[in-house]
Structure formats: C-alpha cells, structure tokens
C-alpha cells in the first residue's frame, strides 16, 4: 500500500510533514536530512525539487532553491541520491516542485523513477487540475503515486470538492493567501476557514501549511487538521545547522514537545 495512505489509516492527529530542498545546504545533504527526519520522528518528508523560478515561494525557499541549483542539484542527481533510500527510510516521501523540470525529465520517466526509489506522492503547485486528470493521472496511477493538491481560503466549495475527488493521500490546506515564508501565525480568520473546510466531510485528511514554525503553531494547526507542514522555518534551521543530525532532531523535538 502507498505509505501516505497507510500513515493516515493509523494516524489522523498531529501528523508532522517537513519540507526541505534537495541539495541544500550542500549537494549531498539530501539523504542525511531524510534519515535525521525519520530518526527525529517526523511523519512525512517532503523533498523540494529546486527550480530557477519558484513563483509560489518566498525568499527563504527561493534562496535554498538557487543554492541547491548552484550546488549541482537536478532531478537526475536527486534520483541517484535516493537510490537505496528505502533500505534506510520508511516514512512516506513526497516530491514537491514546479512542473517544468518534471516535463523536461518526461512524465513517464519521472513517475517510473519515483516508483523505483520509493517515492509515494507529488505536490506540483503549478500543474492545473484539468491537465492533471487528462494527461498525468493515468501515469501517476500506473506507478502508484498520489498527487496532492493545494486549497486556499479563497478556494470555492465546489472546487474543494473536485480537488477532494481527484486528490490522493491528503489535501494541502494553505493557511493564508500568500507565498511561502510568512510568519504571521494563525488568525481568527484562518480558524473560520479551517472550520468551514472541516465541516465539509471530505474524504481526504488535511495538513495545514504556510506559517507553521514551532510548537505553538504546530499544536494550534493540529487542532484544525490532521497535522501540519513546516517549510521555510525548517530551511532556516538547516541553514544555521552546524551538525545536520543533531540540529534536525533537536528542532523536531522542539516542535513536537515544546
């Protein structure tokens, strides 16, 4: 069974998903970070595939993308690094990134490589739903990969229902209309939006992302969803890390326990 599906069958509370950029801070940090995440008790690892023009991302993730590219990261290199990943890492792994590098790699080739190394799903924020259903979904299905869509406070109910229909694993509930890296916390307005979505009885669980950074925000988000996603703050931790393993374990502990 797909590891994301399996995870949510047993755990629907305080699921912690960490995003990091492949090849950052240095080219070969990808696997050490994955292993540290598993050891620290993260539930899902989301590996960013760096792109030259990440329009949905704020400065922190933009810079990590640029540094990773300068370090020599590419999909080819990433799949090389992830070979043998499943001998060491059992938690679900998602690849997150923009559609263009995936298109150039070739959709079929990409999905096949994902299956080979043991990737479970994808977040491709600039892949439109119609194109996904018509051209991509059959290939994703063939290789057992789930596609995770985003919703925002402005997404209409009808559209959320359609996203729920074609999503697999979970729905990425963006906390506010913004690029990544905002640190505003969770407002009353956001709570109303979370409650509205919760009342819809969707088939997919939700994880809340954007603005989650510490124990307080993680705990709060977990009250309104199956858990949360931390991105920019984790990149900041990695940027400042003197020892990846120690610092990742310590940070995740601080998020989970306080």
């Amino acid at each position: 069974m797909n590891r994301i599906t399996e995870l949510f069958q047993t755990k629907l509370h305080s699921v912690l998903n960490l995003y990091f950029t492949a090849g950052y801070p240095t080219l070969n940090d990808t696997m050490p970070i994955l292993e540290a995440l598993q050891e620290a008790g993260a539930d899902i690892a989301e590996i960013g595939m760096p792109y030259s023009d990440p329009v949905a991302d704020g400065e922190t993730i933009q810079q990590s993308n640029q540094i990773a590219l300068d370090n020599g990261m590419s999909l080819k290199v990433l799949f090389e690094q992830l070979k043998g990943m499943r001998e060491k890492v059992q938690i679900p792994v998602i690849l997150m990134g923009y559609i263009n590098p995936v298109l150039q790699f070739g959709i079929e080739n990409f999905c096949q490589k994902c299956q080979e190394v043991g990737v479970d799903g994808m977040i491709l924020p600039d892949l439109p739903m119609d194109e996904y259903e018509e051209e991509y979904k059959p290939v994703f299905d063939k290789y057992g990969l789930l596609n995770i869509f985003l919703i925002t406070p402005q997404t209409t109910e009808a559209r959320i229902r359609r996203i729920d229909e074609i999503s697999g694993g979970f729905i990425y509930m963006v906390s506010s209309a913004s690029v990544t890296g905002k640190t505003s916390g969770i407002s009353d307005e956001m709570e109303a939006y979370f409650n509205r979505v919760n009342a819809m009885n969707l088939k997919n669980p939700r994880l809340i992302g954007f603005g989650i950074k510490d124990h307080e925000t993680f705990t709060k988000a977990s009250e309104y969803a199956a858990g949360a996603i931390i991105g920019s703050q984790f990149i900041r931790v990695l940027q400042a890390a003197s020892d990846i393993k120690t610092d990742v374990v310590e940070y995740i502990k601080s998020v989970k326990v306080g």
Partner: protein, 402 residues
C-alpha cells in the same frame, strides 16, 4: 541573423480555445493561490470587453488620450534603399512612446470594473511600467511596478518617469535581475494581495486569459493598418508585416487581423543578442524548447534539466527567455517566420532609420527594422514594419555607438 521556417500542415485557426490554448501552447499553469483571480478574469474578460460602455470609454481614451489612430507612414527614403514599399506603423507616437499603453488602458478599465483599486505590474524596458503608471495616475489607482535591478540601471529615464507618475518602483533582485525576475516578483505580489489588486501584465504572456486579452487590446494596431492601407493603396493586405517579439504584444497586435489572411507573410524579429551560438542571446524559438514559465506552456529557453536560462539582449524589452503562446503556435505551425537579430544589427538599423527618416526607434523596434535587409521584397510589394516605440529611453545605449 538566422531564420527558420517550419511547415507542419495547414493551420488556419489561430484563436485561443476555451481552455486557453493555441495549438499545444497556452493554458493556465498557476498555483492555487492565483486561481480565484485568474478564474475571475477568465470568466469576465470577454463580457466586460464587449460591453458598450467599456468600448466607448476605451475608444475615447485611445483617440483622445493615446492619440490614435497612429499614422501609417510611407517611408520614402527607406523604401528607396530597400527597393520596395515600406510603411511604418507609428506606435512610437502613442502617448508614453510605445504600443504598451494600448494594453494598459484596456486593463485598467477592466480592473476598475472588477472592483480592483490597486495595480501591480512588471517591466523590462520600463515602457510597460511607464504605461501602467500613466493609466494609474489617470484613474487615481495605486501602482507598484517591479523592475529588474539591471534594467533599473539601463533604463534610468523610464524609472524617473514612473516615479514622477506616482508609482512605486520595486527592484527585483533575484535571478538574472531582469524582466523574467520582475515578472516572478509581480506574480508573488499578486499571490500576497489577491483581493484588491489587479496584475496588469505587459505582454501576451502569462496564464490564460492574459495572452488573448492583451492581444485583443493590441489588435487595434492591425485594425488600423488594414483601413489605412486600404485608403493608401486600395488593398487591405500588405505582403509582409514585421514586428519584434519580446513577449510578443506589439507583434500580436500587428498580426492579429492578418492571422487568417494567409497571403500576408508574418515576420517576427527576436533578440539574437551576441548571436544565437554565443550563449548570450534571447532568441527563444532558436534556443528554446516547449516548457512552462509564468503560467503558460510555450517555447522557453532552458537547460536540459528544465531550469530557465538567463537571456541576454541589448534591448531590455526583448530580454526575456520565452514568448507568448500565440507566437509559439505561429512558429510551430509555420504561420510566422522568425529571425534572430543581433545587438549590432539592431543598432545599425536604429541609426539607419534615424538618418534616412529622422525617426529614432526604440532598440526593440530596431530589431524589426533590421529584418528589411533579409527580406528581398519585390518593388511592387508592400511591407509594414511595426515601429513599436521611440528611442528616447535608449539614447545612452545608442550614444555608445555614435
């Protein structure tokens, strides 16, 4: 100079389809955060544009504010030199000095009808930024313009104009620090300000419906060319229409009413930079492959890994690694022929027009003029060159070659 001509069957339908595609190109490849705004535009733009009061206001401003119709000028000495009949469509005489204002007038009227009271835009040469700042001043709307740090330096007069017009010019400091990055920043700004802000994109790029919407606002150029040619020559159709292509808005406007007139040869001039094999070029159809940037699928200069390549051109307005999806389709179908014009060639053409006709063209437009020497048009043929803008902003660059 290099040129390609592809012939892949007969394509006569060059209009966008319901999903925003021109053939294989187009669509709306946007993150969910932009979906409500883009969908609002998709669902309303045609209906708003067709409203009588919109048309009345639009046409009135084009006439009395922009100064349309712009002349179609028979360039006698240039025609003598190239032994054919050359007409210049004088978009350089538009208020603010380029064709860009046709689009910004249209979009600001649309934005007002959508209840938006803030405007964000990107700019390369600064012409679109100035045209946006101008209509914002005219309508009393707040205006933020993102401009690459490098472009801010090489297009200083336009930066000053935008500031005087009350716009806030924000430097884009990421990536190549030019038009591509300014566009990224404008998109991010729109993501962060979805409710009260309209994004006035400056060319026929971006997610559907922008390419079609901008082409419609610019289509006034070919509408006028047709009636002016009829009046001057007794025929609506020229043999050639030549325009430069950055994103492709002036070309889309100049081609629009000729797209299905297959006897009219459409010619696009891209920025060859130092030459297409120099690694310093912006000639997208020569160097690019199908890809997705800024919300649409088109032809894109990119590495094998799908990372966008930083383009290079003497002309800030053509310094863009993609082209609009309509142009990708015109190229792919063979409907238009593309030339890559080097920096040097464009400067020569700029000086030539100045000496022969007393008109200093924008360096962007000089790329289109540069095609004349490759055309070998017959003595009885008619050539229209879209003179998209004037060269005042480029004087510092021209002076280096004097």
């Amino acid at each position: 100079m290099t040129s390609t001509e592809q012939h892949k069957g007969q394509e006569t339908a060059f209009a966008v389809n319901a999903k925003g595609y021109y053939g294989k190109f187009g669509g709306a490849y946007i993150p969910e955060m932009l979906h409500p705004n883009v969908e609002e535009l998709q669902q309303n733009y045609l209906q708003i544009i067709h409203q009588a009061d919109f048309q009345e206001e639009f046409q009135n401003l084009l006439k009395n504010y922009v100064g349309r119709p712009t002349p179609l000028y028979y360039a006698t000495r240039l025609s003598e030199k190239y032994k054919t009949n050359i007409y210049l469509k004088r978009e350089d005489l538009c208020h603010t000095g380029a064709h860009k204002v046709n689009n910004t007038i249209g979009q600001i009227l649309l934005a007002k009808r959508l209840g938006k009271h803030k405007i964000v835009a990107e700019t390369g040469a600064g012409q679109h930024g100035v045209a946006t700042a101008t209509v914002c001043a005219l309508m009393g709307l707040e205006c933020i313009v993102y401009m690459g740090e490098i472009d801010i330096q090489r297009q200083a007069p336009n930066v000053a104009r935008m500031k005087m017009l009350g716009a806030e010019v924000r430097p884009a400091t990421s990536g190549s620090k030019t038009l591509k990055d300014a566009t990224n920043e404008a998109l991010r700004h729109w993501i962060n300000n979805p409710v009260d802000t309209h994004y006035i994109i400056g060319s026929v790029v971006g997610p559907h419906p922008y390419p079609d919407m901008v082409a419609r606002f610019q289509s006034i150029i070919s509408e006028e060319i047709r009636s002016q040619l009829l009046e001057k020559t007794g025929k609506e159709n020229p043999d050639y229409v030549i325009a430069c292509v950055g994103g492709g808005s002036n070309a889309a406007g100049a081609f629009y009413h000729f797209l299905d007139e297959l006897d009219v040869k459409l010619i696009a001039a891209e920025a060859g930079g130092h030459g297409i094999h120099s690694g310093m070029s912006a000639a997208t159809t020569f160097l690019g492959k199908p890809g997705v940037l800024h919300g649409s699928k088109s032809i894109l200069m990119q590495t094998e890994d799908g990372q966008v390549v930083e383009p290079q051109s003497i002309s800030a307005g053509l310094d863009y690694p993609g082209i609009g999806p309509l142009h990708a389709h015109l190229w792919d179908s063979g409907r238009a022929k593309f030339y890559a014009i080097t920096d040097e060639e464009s400067i020569e053409a700029g000086f030539e027009l100045t000496k022969l006709e007393g008109i200093i063209p924008a360096i962007e437009s000089a790329h289109a003029l540069s095609v004349l020497k490759y055309l070998n048009a017959e003595a009885n043929e008619t050539v229209v060159v879209n003179l998209s803008g004037r060269g005042d902003k480029d004087l510092a660059t021209y002076m280096k070659y004097l």
